[in-house]
Amino acid sequence: MVSLRDFSSFPKPGEISLYEKDGQLCSLPAAEVDLTNFAAINLSAYPEINISRELHSHATTSHDENKTVLIQVYEPLIKQLTRTFIENGFEAALEKAANPESETNTVAVSIARFVLRVVNICKTVQYYYHPYRKDRGIFSISKFAQTRDWSRSFIRVMRWHPNIFKLAVAACDDSIRVYTDEKSTVVVLKVWLMHGKWNILQKCITSMEWRPLSHNELAVGCENGIIIWNITNVRTGKPITRYVNLTHRNHSPIISLEWDKAGMMLASASTSDSDILIWCPDSQRNDPLKRVGPPSSLLKFSPDGERLFTSTVGSVFRVWNTHDWLPERWTLPNGTIQSAAWSPCGGYLLFVTSEEPILYSLQFIEQQLFATASLAKQALPIADLSKIELSNQSDIGGQPQSLAWDSKGQHLAISFKDCSSIALFLTSVNKNMINIAPDCFIVGIGTTFPSYICFQEPYKDSSHSVLTIGWSSGVVQYFPFV
């Protein structure tokens, strides 16, 4: 099992990692690098992205922060309760009625307090059996999203198109920017709906996925379900964007979504629903994968489309066979699945948990020739990601945040929850085993840390993979493996 101590070189203070060429990391002092653009060699076609600069005003989706700028006016209790009920639901209205700001009818207050007590007792019982229900809405998203510090991050999600040069970046203002190799054209996707007042439909973006074998369809998972964008005429000037909103009762906010390899099915998971929905977006119908227990938090289709990995907010995770949709159930001793990645052949699944700094591997290749029934299938630890202390700078490693594995199965990137570096491993996968070796660390400028990492699939003539890093400063860095 490799560990972070096995790395031969560690990042030097004040240096920025730019690219890797023939296995050698190229770093430069921060003063010599354009701080707004990390573009290195052969990356002239890549767009310069600095989300913090592009956002004129940083509007977060938290309602409470918006409310601080509003001046409070007097409202009668009935009006207050009605408004609270419409905006925040029954419980908030009940709390308001139980603790009124002005003198009101004491009988009504007593009744409200009694009902509130009953509701609280019921909730206590419910949370005893289903502890995951404590975290709802934005809190549950922050906890299980693949983005570090999701609620305050400039970059919420990034996703490369699997077949062409297109990068979608979701920002904290609930907009999505689509960049192509034509730098002058950036499509901004945002939906406002008029329901009495203007509301953002595409709120709290948690996941995005380009539809395979289609150049212009992007599925977005957000607080109000799934939005499927269709973007046409990008190159001819004025882009035409259309969207479809897929919703299902009790299936929001969407925490994860994935297309199958043919782009016919879209799987979605929500932190408030234990079922996983398999959508046919063209007919806007869905079939549930029903399971009793905690809701799902992460979905990953294997690249060959044979399996679907689903993790829950509890200790259970499943791997579904997509032929008969029967699950293989796995349990963790403690914690939940933090992140996972499939090998290009679909034979191995790497995952990290929320409690241990260990990288595990699960094998799904049929090699039952010498296997016996008494030998239970187990996940093998293959890398120790425990924190190590460096003499000249802050610690490296610790609790992992997310995994990204390139489509050739040669490089694995791991970002951490409390560390500003990204650990890169060299990997090779064959039929019988997976090899992993330490490669290098990537560091950003100053105190910035990686919010989101993903790989660009090799396309056209380019044979190299490009790791794309969304830093907490809003800058997007492209780290090619030349």
């Binding site: 398999i278 063209d282 119908r285 079939d287 029903k290 949709w325």
Partner: protein, 478 residues
């Protein structure tokens, strides 16, 4: 046995299987042995009705009047079966309730007449009402296929649990509307029934909580039962089928019809199953079945499998495209007609515009002014000819005016008018089959790059055909 008969047989076997599951379900839904026989008879009738609906080829009816004319008998039969289902279930429930009530007070009944319990009447009417509601809201069949193919038992369990839960909530609405209806008209109904069959009713209150609860249980039972039978039929019918690519010379347990024959079948369910199978085999990582398609026949060395399969698929796609194009042309024609009608309906009165024309012509003739416009058509018509044209246009105008007037009468357009896009909606309602076939062919062509050793696909691929449907849909969207 002909191929169509074999296709029909495949469906019938599945119907029988679904009927058996439905019969077993009656035992699960707490039916006693005594009532099992009539209930099974109803389930059988209902099953035949659903099976018939599945086997029926969908037809397009331009107007509601035509739809009523052609489907009235069938719809009435299906409705009658629904009502019968409701009556039998409610009768069974009312007998349970009557058996539970040991003491019967009969103060409101005359000695000479038979005394019936009003609760039974309420139950039966409620059964009729709820089953009619189900018929109106849901109908017996759902044509959309499942997106994922799960094991039949897992699918059934998941569907039944959902149905049981949703029926309990769905029955509340119809129950309360029924109670309102009974409060308003119950006494009249009782009076007419008493007069018709010479019986008296022992009075019962609608506002009895236990009575309402019993009715709710019964409504839930009816909805749950009907939905479950429909779901079981859907599950059995849509069970994924693996059709052989080539005809087997050896007797085997596999399906006795090839993929190609199933695709060409007139029965839409079989055609859908085959197209789904084509898509599955084309997109699967297992190449065994695809190799049969890319293989050459022995003896002969002819790519028979691929040629026949691709020909059938392309024929189906072309036929669909033609229908789509015709529907689009119809819309374009209607648009043009409307536009020309709008020209006729200009703000200037027709009489005034004609008089103006005549005046301008006379003025030009008097002062020798010729029409110098290059694009203008030079007319050699005499005044008499123009007068005839005017008469024709007048007749046309009157015809359109009369037609518009009649269609604007209340209810006429509803029954006799064809909606602007109804035909295209009808064709687009079932695109699953064509999209599966199109995707399947595309995947086969893509996989042939590595798997087709003899180049059979390469030699016969017609690249434009797959694009036809896309082009047609683009025209529609634009």
């Amino acid at each position: 046995m002909s191929k169509e008969q074999i296709c029909r047989r495949i469906c019938n076997i599945r119907f029988v299987e679904a009927l058996m599951y439905s019969a077993a379900l009656q035992l699960l839904l707490l039916t006693t042995i005594v009532w099992l026989v009539p209930l099974l008879a109803v389930v059988l009738l209902y099953g035949i009705c659903i099976g018939h609906e599945y086997l029926r080829k969908p037809h397009y009816y331009p107007t509601r009047a035509l739809w009523i004319y052609y489907t009235a008998v069938r719809t009435c039969t299906v409705f009658a079966i629904h009502v019968f289902f409701g009556i039998v279930t409610s009768w069974m429930h009312s007998n349970y309730a009557n058996a539970a009530e040991t003491e019967i007070n009969e103060p409101s009944c005359e000695q000479s007449r038979y005394c019936a319990n009003e609760t039974s009447l309420m139950s039966i009417l409620c059964g009729v009402y709820v089953s009619s509601y189900y018929f109106y809201v849901k109908g017996p069949t759902v044509t959309d296929f499942f997106i994922i193919h799960q094991n039949i038992y897992i699918r059934a369990r998941s569907s039944l649990v959902t149905i049981l839960r949703s029926s309990a909530f769905q029955s509340v609405g119809p129950l309360f509307t029924y109670l309102l209806f009974y409060v308003a008209l119950g006494s009249s109904i009782k009076f007419y029934i008493s007069a018709a069959i010479n019986i008296d009713f022992q009075d019962a209150s609608v506002f009895n909580v236990r009575q309402v609860f019993d009715l709710w249980i019964m409504s839930t039972h009816i909805l749950c039962n009907m939905s479950s039978i429909s779901a079981l039929f859907k599950i059995c019918i849509e069970k994924s089928t693996t059709f052989p690519v080539m005809e087997s010379q050896i007797e085997s347990d596999s399906v006795p019809i090839t993929l190609n024959d199933a695709l060409a079948s007139e029965i839409s369910v079989v055609q859908k199953l085959a197209s789904c199978d084509l898509f599955t085999l084309a997109s699967s990582s297992d190449a065994t079945r695809r190799l049969h398609i890319f293989a050459l026949s022995i003896p002969g060395g002819h790519p028979y499998s691929w040629i026949s399969l691709s020909t059938t698929c392309l024929q189906l796609m072309d036929a669909y495209c033609d229908q789509l194009v015709k529907s689009i042309e119809q819309i374009v024609y209607i648009n043009k007609t409307n536009a020309s009608n709008r020209l006729f309906r200009s703000t200037v009165p027709i009489g005034v515009s004609v008089a103006d024309k005549v005046r301008f012509r006379q003025y030009n003739q008097n002062y020798g002014i010729r029409n110098m416009s290059l694009n203008g058509s030079y007319s050699t018509e005499t005044i008499a000819g123009e007068q005839i044209n005017d008469v024709t246009s007048k007749i046309k105008l009157h015809y359109f005016a009369a037609k518009t007037y009649i269609l604007n009468l209340p209810g006429i357009y509803y029954f006799f008018g064809e909606t602007f896009s109804s035909k295209i909606d009808f064709h687009l309602r079932d695109t699953e089959t064509i999209s599966w076939i199109c995707q399947g062919l595309s995947f086969l062509a893509a996989k042939s790059l590595t798997e087709d050793k003899y180049g059979v696909v390469h030699n016969s691929l017609i690249p434009t055909n797959c694009n036809n449907s896309v082009i047609s849909l683009d025209i529609l969207i634009l």
